[in-house]
């Protein structure tokens, strides 16, 4: 449930900043996840793939970790 909320927040952020204009599918997201963020990469990936948004149904997450509470989106790879 937590990761589902985070996935929805990420999509909202991408949409508000117009990063998803003309994007058919997001293949991958490069993220930085803090060890104190409480986020599990596998659950987050599952959330993206299953939240009902076809653009993210096959997305793969690639995560760097650090000793913060950050959840930062660095880059998306898309078609």
């Amino acid at each position: 449930m937590h990761e589902l909320s985070i996935a929805l927040e990420v999509i909202e952020m991408l949409e508000k900043n117009n990063y998803l204009e003309d994007i058919r599918i997001v293949n991958a997201i490069n993220l930085t996840i803090g060890n104190y963020s409480g986020i599990d990469k596998n659950y987050l990936e599952f959330a993206f793939q299953n939240l009902g948004d076809d653009r993210f149904s096959e997305v793969i997450l690639n995560c760097d970790y650090n000793e913060t509470d950050d959840i930062k989106v660095n880059e998306i790879i898309a078609d």
Binding site: K16, D69, A78
Partner: protein, 236 residues
């Protein structure tokens, strides 16, 4: 690197943004409202049953004695049982029922501030009691001044190590149910050591909502913070 190899011909878009930007923006707007009203705002985090509502019930009479005006936003997955407990104290309260969502977010608080009609300008402190959960609420800022994590000794002294994010992000830890120390194996010393190993800036209070031990000290601390906030706002 692996992903780039997998998708060499695809479009790469640099983002470099906080994933929770939308929530952060609303939290900043909430904070501006709180600053304008000079109200001190606390976001209470804990596991279910650690005593967040009981702590509010116990501290409100002490705060009333100090002429502190309190209001409360309650967050629960279901029911307004906690709001009813707060209403019995004769102070303004508002219940957010999340219907399954495991945390409060800034948007929910924004809506609650509109719907509740709280008189923020004439209030001194707002307690936001988050959904009982030590994981999810830690990610979502609400615009609060302090995050406070409440831990009851019945939860075990290893809780800070098992749920580090809540302790890492909090300003204060309240150890509750200390009246049970003599019947449990939990050690306050170990709880403190474990919590401080995650966040060495944590200010720690020990309380019992059963005996009221430590509640007056906590009320006095909140009073200090209310005064500090008012003075800081006036010098801005």
């Amino acid at each position: 690197m692996e992903i780039e190899k997998l998708y060499p011909e695809h479009k790469k878009i640099s983002i470099q943004k906080n994933a929770l930007e939308a929530n952060e923006n609303i939290a900043k707007s909430n904070k501006s409202k709180f600053e304008a009203s000079k109200i001190f705002v606390v976001n209470l985090l804990s596991s279910p049953g650690s005593g967040k509502t009981s702590m509010i019930e116990r501290i409100v009479p002490f705060l009333k004695d100090l002429n502190v005006k309190v209001c409360v936003i309650e967050g629960d997955v279901e029911t307004d049982l906690d709001k009813k407990r707060i209403d019995a104290l004769g102070i303004p309260s508002y219940q957010i029922i999340t219907k399954g969502t495991c945390h409060l977010d800034a948007k929910m608080i924004d809506k609650a501030l509109v719907s509740s009609n709280f008189d923020l300008i004439n209030s001194d402190i707002l307690f936001i009691e988050n959904v009982g959960n030590l994981v999810c609420p830690t990610s979502f800022n609400l615009g609060e001044d302090f995050k406070i994590v409440v831990l009851s000794i019945t939860e075990g002294d290893d809780k800070p190590l098992k749920y580090p994010a809540a302790f890492y992000k909090s300003d204060i830890m309240i150890i509750n149910k200390i009246d049970l120390l003599n019947v449990l194996d939990s050690s306050i010393k170990t709880i403190k050591e474990n919590a401080l190993s995650i966040n060495n800036k944590l200010k720690i209070f020990e309380i019992s909502c059963k005996t009221n031990e430590g509640i007056k000290e906590l009320a006095n601390y909140f009073m200090e913070q209310i005064i500090n906030k008012r003075e800081n706002n006036e010098t801005k």
